[in-house]
């Protein structure tokens, strides 16, 4: 990443403008300032004036229009939030996607490119959906409201976490695109949450299995099996389509179908403030092979570029949930940032669909991909 140096600098020092202003203040002299303050001592008994404090200016961010890819939003979010607050949303795994190349095809007209798709009766502008992230006020004062506005502006559906920092009904008022609700299989008050979802006219419920009880809780051990009884309970308690999130193996996907799931999300997220996990791209094809003809397979995990998304579609995924990049946009630029991040991914996906000669999602198949062994160590060819 070209920005790494800037980021490191940003971590240790406040942004340039801030530093120089503070220095200027310091040079005026702590001694001089204090002596002035002591001569202007208030009369006895009057309340002490609060010490003078330089208002902290907001961190200097790069103008939004100057950012050229989604990864650049990460450094802006870091600058905005500081190292502690940004930690839960940092990181990307590029190792899996770097093993997959796309097959360009020529002279296939794609001017009428169409990325629209239908899921659970709703038309989606693209297969890119804003994924569930808990407690978004951690990243922006407007939290989920800003995300909802940004996602709607980008014509993308949004999944709201059951750990949202804003009531679902309020979020529902801010969206113009399909709204889904995510719940944890073992979460508290699932019944109430599901009732809330129906009241807010949510279009689907994602139930996260294989995860901790909350985003900030401890990670569940990998060995723990999926609690299918909890999934059954959700299916029983709601009339909405239920999507099981956290599937990594074909046999689990088949079980989900048997339990009445109307969709699955291939995901290896296990809850907690985990660092970015290994990409899920190579887990998609086996799941699609097992159940793809029965219910739609979605996927999440380290999608950072349009090419990553095209690869998932090539493996048979019907859609992709985007988590961290959307939060980067939210943290740095609020609703506008969310819109930009989603639009950027839409544009990139469109770009590479065109260059691979695929004018519609139906035209995307495994022949668009080539999977390679992990990259060899490169030698120095400069001799």
């Amino acid at each position: 990443m070209p920005d790494d140096e800037t980021i490191v600098a940003g971590k240790t020092n406040p942004p340039e403008g801030v530093a120089s202003r503070r220095q200027t203040l310091g040079m005026m002299g702590t001694a001089a300032a204090t002596s002035m303050a002591s001569t202007a001592m208030p009369a006895l008994g009057a309340p002490a004036a609060p010490p003078f404090r330089e208002p902290t200016p907001p961190p200097a961010l790069v103008p939004r229009a100057d950012l050229v890819n989604v990864l650049e939003y990460e450094s802006q979010a870091r600058r905005m939030l500081g190292p502690a607050k940004v930690a839960p949303i940092l990181g990307s795994d590029r190792t899996v996607t770097d093993r997959i190349t796309l097959r360009p095809r020529m002279n296939i007209p794609t001017r009428d490119l169409d990325l629209t798709m239908t899921l659970f009766g709703d038309q989606h502008f693209t297969p890119i959906i804003v994924g569930p992230m808990a407690d978004q006020k951690r990243f922006h004062p407007d939290g989920e409201i800003a995300t909802a506005r940004g996602a709607s502006a980008a014509k993308a559906a949004m999944v709201v976490s059951s750990d949202a920092s804003v009531p679902l009904a309020t979020i529902a008022q801010a969206v113009t695109t399909p709204l889904w609700l995510q719940v944890y299989a073992k979460g508290p008050k699932v019944k109430d949450v599901l009732a809330e979802a129906s009241a807010a006219k949510a279009k689907a419920v994602i139930v996260t299995v294989n995860a901790g009880t909350s985003a900030s809780g401890p990670a569940t051990p990998a060995s723990e099996r999926i609690d299918w009884a909890a999934v059954d309970a959700v299916v029983k308690d709601t009339a909405l389509p239920v999507i099981v999130k956290g599937i990594t193996r074909p046999q689990d996907a088949k079980e989900a179908v048997a339990r009445g799931a109307r969709g699955v999300v291939v995901s290896n997220y296990r809850g907690g403030n985990a660092a970015a996990l290994a990409g899920t791209l190579l887990l998609v094809a086996p799941v699609v092979q097992a159940i793809g003809d029965q219910i739609p397979v979605l996927v999440d995990g380290s999608f950072r570029r349009g090419t990553d998304i095209l690869k998932a579609l090539g493996f048979g995924a019907r859609g992709v949930l985007i988590g961290r990049p959307v939060m980067w946009g939210l943290a740095a630029y609020g609703a506008d940032g969310v819109q930009s991040v989603v639009e950027m991914l839409q544009t990139e996906l469109a770009r590479y669909m065109c260059m691979c000669g695929r004018p519609s999602l139906a035209a995307v198949d495994p022949s668009v991909l080539r999977v390679h062994a992990p990259l060899l160590q490169t030698r120095n060819n400069r001799g």
Partner: protein
């Protein structure tokens, strides 16, 4: 007064004497820019070029599409091919790599690829490049449609040289005919049609432009929703320039009728497309990913070359470009089945670093390197450089 005394003391001290020395570091002299007499490999030209031009000009040459995965992979791919010295080495003087390509006699299977606007690189511009190519054993040069010197001026500038011309499909057949007339009237017999780069975006170039706001920015994908109230349809809804998304093979048929000389199709990376190019009248294809400038996360040109060679099966010549920096790179491409190679960026480094003389030196350097590696591998002629001379370890 006191200050002056202190200064006098310092000046008299041995510390100040040491400071006054000119660069005490033993390798200091090597920090200066190399001269043309000192360059050893093509790589040596690159920093000189970098120093000579302004950032946007450097960026235009250096960068590729998207995250530049493919740009990097082009170079990595050469590392995945090993040269096997299967024959006994021969003296370099016995190596003769001459061949005939579409009726054109070539002393070396190396061609100068079409690249845009050379005058910003060096005042010698396209004319200098053409003179350099001609001086370097009559190397064929292909002039870009985005040339900064009109073809009518370039073609007669280097007597005895051969100039072909490249262009991008234009939806208007009348406009296409006009280009063909211009080229063929100027004496550019061969025509190269580039069919890749349908929707490319030079992200890194954009990053540099935005840095410090030195150059007015153009609307990128992050610029927000399309302004205006016009109802967008098709690809334009997703904020991409759909100007090149109409390309068809029928258009190639139409161009075929307009071109009297050789017609070459550039940008083939798939065996099926190679077959289509032959079906639609191409006299040769150029296996190329536009030097990593066309599609990010596409394959390196080298790794798809063998399967395209197999599909074409000798029906038409195959040229190769993308990532060539050394004679060994050329040898590998030839061994994997290419009939010749094109150099784009590398030729630009030569011109931008030292003008016409630099470009000539660079081309000759690659020719020499190719002869040397051929001699070491025991290949006396072009047809000796075959599959047995290399082992490809593509992943």
């Amino acid at each position: 007064m006191a200050l002056a005394r202190v200064a006098g003391l310092v000046a008299a001290s041995p510390v100040a004497a040491a400071v006054a020395q000119i660069d005490p570091r033993p390798l200091g002299e090597h920090r200066r820019v190399l001269s043309l007499a000192e360059v050893q490999t093509a790589f040596d030209f690159e920093p000189v070029f970098h120093g000579n031009v302004i950032l946007p000009v450097y960026d235009y040459t250096a960068h590729g599409d998207g995250s530049e995965f493919t740009l990097r992979r082009n170079r990595q791919a050469f590392d995945w091919v090993d040269i096997l010295p299967s024959r006994a080495a021969i003296p370099a003087s016995q190596v003769d790599l001459s061949s005939e390509l579409l009726g054109l006699k070539m002393k070396f299977p190396i061609i100068v690829a079409p690249t845009a606007a050379m005058v910003p690189l060096h005042p010698d511009g396209e004319i200098g490049m053409f003179k350099a190519a001609t001086a370097a054993s009559n190397t064929l040069m292909i002039l870009s449609t985005n040339t900064s010197t009109p073809v009518a001026q370039v073609a007669p500038a280097s007597p005895g040289g051969t100039l072909w011309a490249q262009f991008y499909p234009l939806q208007s057949l009348a406009a296409t005919q006009q280009w063909m007339d211009t080229y063929q009237n100027a004496g550019a017999g061969g025509v190269i049609v580039t069919i890749d780069q349908q929707a490319s975006y030079y992200e890194r170039t954009q990053q540099d432009r935005n840095f410090g706001g030195r150059v007015a920015r153009t609307a990128g994908p992050g610029a927000g929703a399309g302004s205006g109230t016009a109802v967008l349809t098709g690809a334009a809804r997703y904020r991409i320039n759909s100007g090149r998304l109409w390309y068809t093979w029928q258009y190639i048929d139409a161009v075929r009728k307009m071109v009297k000389g050789p017609l070459l199709i550039k940008g083939i990376l798939d065996p099926q497309d190679a077959g289509m190019a032959i079906d639609h009248g191409a006299d040769a294809i150029i296996v190329s990913n536009h030097g990593g400038r066309s599609m990010d996360y596409g394959p390196s040109s080298l790794e798809v070359l063998p399967e395209i060679v197999a599909a074409v099966n000798g029906r038409i010549p195959i040229l190769f470009d993308s990532g060539i920096r050394r004679g060994t790179d050329i040898f590998k491409a030839l061994a994997l089945g290419a009939n010749g190679v094109m150099i784009g960026r590398t030729a630009r480094w030569g011109l931008a670093a030292f003008g016409t003389a630099g470009a000539q030196r660079l081309i000759e350097m690659l020719q020499q390197e190719l002869v040397q590696v051929s001699a070491a591998a025991g290949c006396a002629k072009l047809s000796d450089i075959g599959k047995k001379a290399v082992k490809a370890n593509f992943v």
